[in-house]
């Protein structure tokens, strides 16, 4: 991994970014979708691609390709009580770790990490593995997510989401 900087756990900018990623994981496990939505900048994208190798998400088919408008609609869907799959969504516990730093400055930190998400619904446990990329904008007003790409390790095969977000 020659393109990553050393992790830099003494670098407070990196620590702030990691903390935000963990906050996001906590909110998603708690199904606090309003809190989750507030973590994103206005022009942020939240992407779950299918093609594991592409960075051109706009011209490919994705599982999720959400700008601000789609995130708003998604949060409404998850919270309004009309979507049977959201109402009966699996419970989840996720671990995000194995951080590497791809970019760090006083305003932007880009982190890569590994996520193991455990879900349980109707007597079925499932594990979803993913590689995450977060671009975090640092600001005295509060750090925010400007990009999240979640690459599921089985993205090209049959994925069962059971109503939760990755």
């Amino acid at each position: 991994m020659s393109d990553t900087l050393t992790l830099g756990l003494t670098d407070t900018r990196v620590l702030r970014a990691i903390e935000l990623v963990w906050t996001e994981a906590t909110l998603l496990d708690a199904k606090d979708y309003l809190g989750w939505e507030a973590l994103y900048t206005d022009d942020a994208m939240y992407v779950i691609p299918i093609d594991p190798n592409t960075n051109d998400h706009e011209t490919s088919l994705n599982m999720v390709y959400d700008d601000k408008r789609m995130r708003r609609l998604r949060v409404e869907r998850m919270t309004q009580g009309y979507a049977p799959s959201a109402v009966a969504a699996a419970r989840t516990v996720r671990i995000v770790s194995r951080f590497t730093v791809a970019e760090v400055s006083d305003t932007v930190v880009t982190l890569r990490s590994a996520q193991i998400l455990n879900s349980f619904k109707r007597n079925a446990f499932a594990t979803v593995g993913a590689e995450l990329t977060h671009r975090i904008e640092l600001s005295p007003e509060g750090d925010k997510i400007a990009l999240k790409v979640a690459r599921l390790i089985d993205s090209e095969d049959a994925v069962s989401a059971s109503g939760f977000l990755v």
């Binding site: 093609d51 088919l61 999720v64 009309y82 049977p84 049959a158 994925v159 069962s160 989401a161 109503g163």
Partner: protein, 425 residues
């Protein structure tokens, strides 16, 4: 004395016109019998030609529960080959798609051509006088295509594909009009599994009845014009036709059923205005732009082709039976091979909005299907009802049993084909 033949269960009796036993979803013996009597005997959809674009391209998939490779060989002929080495049975290819000159089995390196001939055996002296290479090609299925859709069958005696498709062909043609004169191209696939029988999914494609209930959250998330287009509950022009051979079509938006016909009343959704502006600026004539915009949501109908493929609205829906209680569903987004790229991009966004494991629609369908599987296990002999609209079913001018789009005419058609095939000896 009871012979094995007379003791064989008569599964065909479990389906009767407007009802089927819940056992059809839960009994592993029935699933095994369906593989033999349906999936190995009829035409099973395997690929769209655009997925295998040039000589050497291939795709792996299944026919029933058996692994196959669909290839395009040097003569541009499509082949469907059992993915099973003739030596000791290893799969010879495990990539989903790709390009190759042929297939070499990784176990002892027997190698095969794109049309399945056995080309080479390493260290052949041990086989001298024992194996003639001509005798051991990969098993080849009959393969035929119609309008770019490729089907295969294990059954050497199956009727020609076009005869099997019958009246579905007219609807295939209409469906493909959404490519606006360009070839149709698969742009990507959403794949997901649900814990339920394949027929639960088969029923769903022409089930208009569930739409406003299950997809309330999707309806709430789209613009008023789109929601209006999908408000077919009280629209008498929204009908389902039984087309024969298990095929059926459910017309949700009659005004889109033939995109060549435009009465000019339909408003183009304001959220597409940026595309309209872009195309007009690029010099596209307005009637052409209007045609592109109207095709954006696909054709306003779902065509279900027994047993495993549907042309649904703006995508292909494939079902792959995994086991009696697990089914894989592929939703293949389609677009134009040519034409303005921005239209294809918008089609991807529309597809993402509804389909896939994180879409605003499919997970809600899957929630219902999971529950059917569990519920149907409670008293598996109790019938599943597919009798909605029986009282108002009529025969259309074309000779098709026809009722409202919310009626279960399509399911009755599927189950009558199921019954016919499962009753064959």
């Amino acid at each position: 004395m009871t012979s094995i033949e007379t003791a064989a269960p008569r599964f065909g009796d479990l389906a009767a016109g407007d009802r089927v036993a819940g056992q059809l979803y839960t009994d592993p013996e029935i699933f095994a019998e369906e593989m033999k009597k349906i999936f190995y005997r009829t035409w099973v959809w395997v690929a769209h030609e655009s997925e295998i674009p040039e000589a050497g391209s291939f795709k792996t998939t299944q026919v029933g529960d058996q692994p196959v490779i669909v290839t395009r060989d040097r003569k541009n002929t499509f082949n469907t080959l059992l993915n099973r080495c003739r030596h000791r049975g290893a799969t010879v290819c495990d990539q989903r798609t790709g390009k190759a000159n042929g297939f070499t089995c990784p176990y002892h390196n027997w190698s095969y051509t794109l049309d399945g001939r056995l080309r080479g055996i390493p260290y052949p002296d041990g086989y001298e006088g024992v194996v003639d290479k001509n005798d051991y090609p990969l098993q080849k299925l009959r393969t035929e295509s119609y309008l770019g859709m490729i089907w295969a069958t294990f059954n050497a005696d199956a009727e020609p594909l076009e005869d099997f498709l019958g009246d579905a062909k007219l609807w295939m043609e209409r469906f493909l009009k959404q490519s606006n004169g360009h070839p149709t191209k698969v742009l990507g696939s959403h794949k997901f599994r649900f814990r339920g029988n394949w027929k639960i999914q088969l029923e769903n494609t022409t089930d208009g009845y569930h739409f406003p209930m299950v997809h309330k959250s999707w309806m709430a998330s789209v613009d008023a014009e789109t929601a209006n287009m999908m408000s077919f509950m009280d629209d008498p022009a929204a009908e389902t036709h039984a087309l024969g051979n298990g095929h059926s079509v459910a017309i949700m938006a009659a005004s889109h059923a033939d995109l060549d016909i435009d009465d000019g009343t339909e408003e183009i959704q304001p959220r597409f205005q940026h595309l309209v502006d872009e195309l007009v600026a690029a010099g596209e004539p307005m009637d052409r732009v209007r045609r592109y915009m109207r095709s954006m949501h696909g054709c306003g109908f779902n065509l279900n082709m027994f047993p495993n493929v549907a042309m649904s609205s703006s995508f292909f829906r494939i079902l792959v039976p995994i086991s009696v209680d697990v089914t894989e569903v592929w939703h293949m987004a389609i677009g134009m091979d040519g034409g303005p790229e921005s239209i294809n991009r918008e089609r991807l966004r529309i597809h993402e909005h509804f389909q896939g494991p994180f879409g605003f629609g499919s997970p809600d369908d899957a929630e219902g299907w999971d529950r059917v599987q569990i519920g149907a296990g409670g008293n598996p002999t109790m019938p599943i009802l597919v009798n909605r609209g029986e009282g108002r079913e009529r025969i259309s001018d074309e000779g098709w049993p026809t009722a409202h789009v919310t009626d279960e005419t399509g399911m009755r058609e599927s189950y009558s084909m199921w019954k016919k095939m499962m009753s064959d000896v």
